[in-house]
């Protein structure tokens, strides 16, 4: 819960939850979004390497949730493009959708409803889609 609250504040304050910033990013109008993702990524790569080399375990002693992804191409590429279309249209990816609801934009409830519907549709159509 605390992690969620912190996440919400960071998403809002970094402006990564703003439609304007997403629009600007796809126009290559500012370094801002690339800086956020890039710096998170550089630290992420270093940190994950440290975790792997030192074999660090989560606090409860279970194994780290760093399983390799399936070796497929179609699903990642096709799914990625579909996600990208929606990301640019709604100007929000799944995390910020909730942050914006908390920030007082009821319009995002429609987006969540759409996202639930999309998730449901994928579940129903899964066996018929190329992966």
């Amino acid at each position: 819960m605390l992690i969620g609250i912190f996440f919400g504040i960071v998403m809002f304050k970094s402006e990564a939850a703003s439609w304007f910033r997403i629009y600007e990013m796809f126009h290559f109008g500012s370094f801002h979004m690339y800086g956020i993702i890039g710096s998170a990524l550089v630290l992420g790569i270093i940190g994950v390497q440290i975790i792997k080399r030192r074999n660090i375990k989560p606090l409860d002693g279970s194994s780290m949730s760093l399983q390799p992804k399936e070796k497929r191409i179609v699903r990642y590429f096709a799914g990625g493009i579909i996600f990208g279309l929606g990301w640019a249209l709604a100007g929000a990816c799944p995390g910020p959708i909730y942050v914006l609801i908390g920030a007082g934009y009821p319009a995002l409830l429609v987006v969540v409803f759409g996202a639930l519907l999309g998730t449901f549709l994928y579940g129903v159509l899964k066996s018929r889609l190329p992966h």
Partner: protein, 185 residues
């Protein structure tokens, strides 16, 4: 205390996102914000319609708690930590105004022309929001993750599939903004 109200620069926000990812890893979880949609569908009984939703969703309830946290975080940040405006590149703001009549850049957090509550009575805007959400939800599950799961978690773990997905995110986003927006707005 001004730094709280100012937008946080990328070199603060990016490392904080990495910190969130590592905190989740340390408690045995994974940073990915779209999985909760599947959990929510399963919790609402979607398992009756598709096997994809037949899993022990109660074990994944933690990601619904994260959602609740994110909502509270958004409330706190917008009410107590921000003047709720976003200043983007002036050229882009100008272009939004001339091409699409979106004039609220610099005055609000989201374009009021799309996200203001009174706009919900406009069927066109309603369709934009619904289809946007639909594509996000469908695409995230098809690709097996969203911005956080692939662009941050997956790429941090040097996963090739995540790179393919992120390239897809950008192709989709660029197509929408540069080729579809001129037709719909």
């Amino acid at each position: 205390m001004n730094w709280i109200y100012e937008p946080w620069p990328w070199y603060v926000s990016g490392p904080l996102i990495a910190l969130i990812m590592f905190t989740l890893l340390l408690v045995g979880k994974q940073f990915g914000m779209s999985s909760n949609l599947r959990t929510a569908c399963a919790a609402m009984g979607a398992g009756k319609a598709a096997d994809f939703f037949k899993f022990n969703w109660k074990a994944e309830r933690w990601n619904l708690t994260v959602v609740l946290g994110a909502i509270i975080g958004g409330f706190i940040a917008s009410n107590y930590m921000s003047d709720n405006t976003v200043s983007i590149n002036p050229e882009i703001a100008e272009q939004l105004s001339t091409d699409y009549n979106i004039e609220s850049a610099g005055d609000s957090y989201l374009p009021t022309e799309i996200f203001a509550t009174e706009m919900l009575s406009d069927p066109f805007i309603l369709a934009i929001l619904l289809i946007g959400g639909l594509l996000v939800g469908f695409g995230a599950r098809y690709a097996g993750g969203c911005t956080s799961g692939h662009a941050i978690s997956g790429l941090s773990n040097l996963q090739l599939p995540s790179l393919i997905a992120v390239i897809g995110f950008f192709i989709g986003g660029l197509i929408m903004i540069h080729f579809i927006f001129p037709f719909i707005f």
